[in-house]
Amino acid sequence: MTFYEKELDRIRDVVYSNEGQINTVIGIRNYIENNYDVDLNLDVLSHMQYVSKYHLLRLFKKYYGQTPRQYLIDKRIEKAKEHLVNDMSVTETCFAVGFESLGSFSTLFKRKIGKSPAKFQKEQLSRSKIDREF
């Protein structure tokens, strides 16, 4: 057994020994993965797993390193990029990934990606056009 394999065993014992907690957070993550496009909040998620929302928040952060809200936003932005690359309009994209306001979607997108959804889409589409032409 290598030193690294021993480290994996140690980390498993120290961090991942509580199977119940792990099943709970994996269930929450899967739910977010499959329902990122609807109105999700801690109440919905905690009710689903029969745990208090504050406990859920702590558990999720403990195992995934970010809050369910942060995870959800990253998922939505990732999906929004896919839609924009596939030529979906900014407004359609906004609602398709679960945002309720175009303004908050655009602001958040710009903060995370460094450019507005419209600018991102324009760059991606012109890039694929250049790839085709050269």
């Binding site: 290598t2 030193f3 690294y4 994996l8 980390i11 991942y16 792990i22 957070v25 195992y63 995934y64």
Partner: protein
């Protein structure tokens, strides 16, 4: 500041290029001569071509401490870095069929599944799937 480059030390750049493109599926992005047979050689993920570039760096050939560190990591089984995949088990099956050697078979670690293979260029590389 932006993170755009991840460096991996390799013993043979051409051999590494073949392994990382033909077996792992990366695409060559930049390849320019740096003199003395060395190249600035970068790759990108096929599915994320505007993502960070992977620099296959010949450091162990020219800088002894780099070689010593790389050898120590290899001997301890420690991964130099890790790549995300959607399904560790299917990627393991695919790479085993291409004669890639694994030191850690697909193993669940709480909220992730990992596996570790030898890149034949001096490094262990870990595959990770978030569960």
């Amino acid at each position: 500041m932006k993170v755009t480059l991840i460096s991996i030390p390799v013993r043979d750049q051409e051999k590494a290029l073949q392994f990382y493109t033909e077996k792992l599926g990366f695409l060559k992005k930049k390849d320019l001569p740096l003199g003395g047979g060395n190249r600035w050689l970068t790759l990108v993920s096929k599915d994320w071509q505007d993502g960070p570039e992977l620099l296959l760096e010949p450091a162990p050939l020219h800088f002894e401490p780099s070689k010593v560190f790389q050898d120590a990591l290899m001997e301890a089984g420690y991964p130099w870095t890790q790549f995300d995949v959607d399904d560790v088990q299917s990627e393991y099956d695919r790479l085993i069929n291409l004669d890639v050697e694994f030191s850690v078979k697909p193993t669940e670690m709480g909220t992730v599944k990992v596996a570790v293979f030898n890149d034949t260029c001096g490094n262990n590389i870990q595959l990770v799937e978030e569960l």
